[in-house]
Symmetry: C2
Subunit: 201 residues, 2 copies
């Protein structure tokens, strides 16, 4: 199995270093209820502005609800469907438009929902699983299929399961992506010290 | 020191379970350059849609740049200034409006920026530090003070440092917040199985 740790100037925690977004999933191994519960709990305990917990997560477990899983799968883009056919668990994350308690716009809702989604993804690593988030899905279709209210925005779908060998990916282009070296932009392009554009070392 | 682990139905990874957002910081202990670098690297390696890394982080280290730190501190809301006066390191997170490569709107930028911020916060836990994100700051003031371009949105400020005892917080109301039991909404209110509103167990 590929273990492609992040290349960092100093060591970082193992969950962050080992997390990546593979496309090769083991079709034979589902998740236990305790594993699903742990993913949910990790997302649940993410921080949020004013403690609003503005996220909603939908989950489809293929083992329990093959028809529901298929409806979620059918919302994915063609590219994502190429590799998601072996995924045992799919999530969709949604962000509220407003605060529940006062109806005011919540400008942090998508930000906070991302935090919950990353917490879930890192818990996947802790469980020996992998998680792969996807922006490529049909928002309108998912709204209709799963009755997402107008005041929530579908943000991402997440594939979770056990990793498989890259060779199990049939589609050539997708398999090449799986083998491509990981990378990030230089620190100086994203992290500034003291003022905008001044590179953090 | 308070160690207030998340109360979960099943165990979750230690970083997520131990992360919370304290207000009592040790004014005497700064961070080493390696610690700051690790926080940055953890944020840097967060996932993002199309690998855009749409976040920008500004960092002010009081030990290196007291004047810059003060300008960042002065952007905070009055409530946050009450407890941030002992914080050695402040960050501001900003999200791009568009994709760099094609100028198209990036609807995932705030979501992805939240992921990078959470990754930084969990790395703080791994380093024996605490991180506390804040929505309460003056956006317009921070734009001017730090030359944030119009096509980026300041999202949050983050206080990072060593935790201190709750008793060190002078303000009574703030100290009470520090001691309040942690909690989250029931799973069923945020996590749905198969379709909107159907509680996940």
């Amino acid at each position: 199995m590929q273990d492609r740790k992040a290349i960092t100037s100093v060591p970082i925690n193992d969950l962050a270093a080992r997390r990546w977004s593979p496309r090769a999933f083991d079709a034979q191994r589902g998740l236990t209820p305790a594993q699903v519960a742990a993913l949910v709990e990790a997302a649940r305990w993410a921080p949020s502005c004013f403690g609003a917990e503005p996220w909603r997560f939908l989950v489809w477990n293929r083992a329990d609800d093959a028809a529901g899983w298929q409806r979620a799968f059918d919302c994915l883009s063609e590219n994502n469907r190429k590799w998601c056919k072996n995924v045992p668990l799919l999530f969709m994350t949604c962000a509220a438009s407003t605060f529940e308690n006062n109806g005011q716009a919540n400008r942090w809702a998508q930000y906070d929902t991302g935090m919950a989604a990353l917490s879930l993804s890192l818990e996947a690593v802790a469980q020996g699983l992998v998680a792969h988030q996807m922006g490529g899905f049909d928002i309108a279709k998912s709204r209709t299929a799963f009755a997402v209210p107008d005041d929530f925005m579908p943000m991402a779908m997440i594939a979770v399961g056990y990793q498989a060998a890259p060779e199990t990916i049939a589609d050539e282009e997708t398999r090449q992506k799986e083998l491509k070296a990981r990378g990030r932009k230089p620190v100086a392009e994203r992290f500034y010290s003291g003022s905008w554009g001044r590179p953090a070392s």
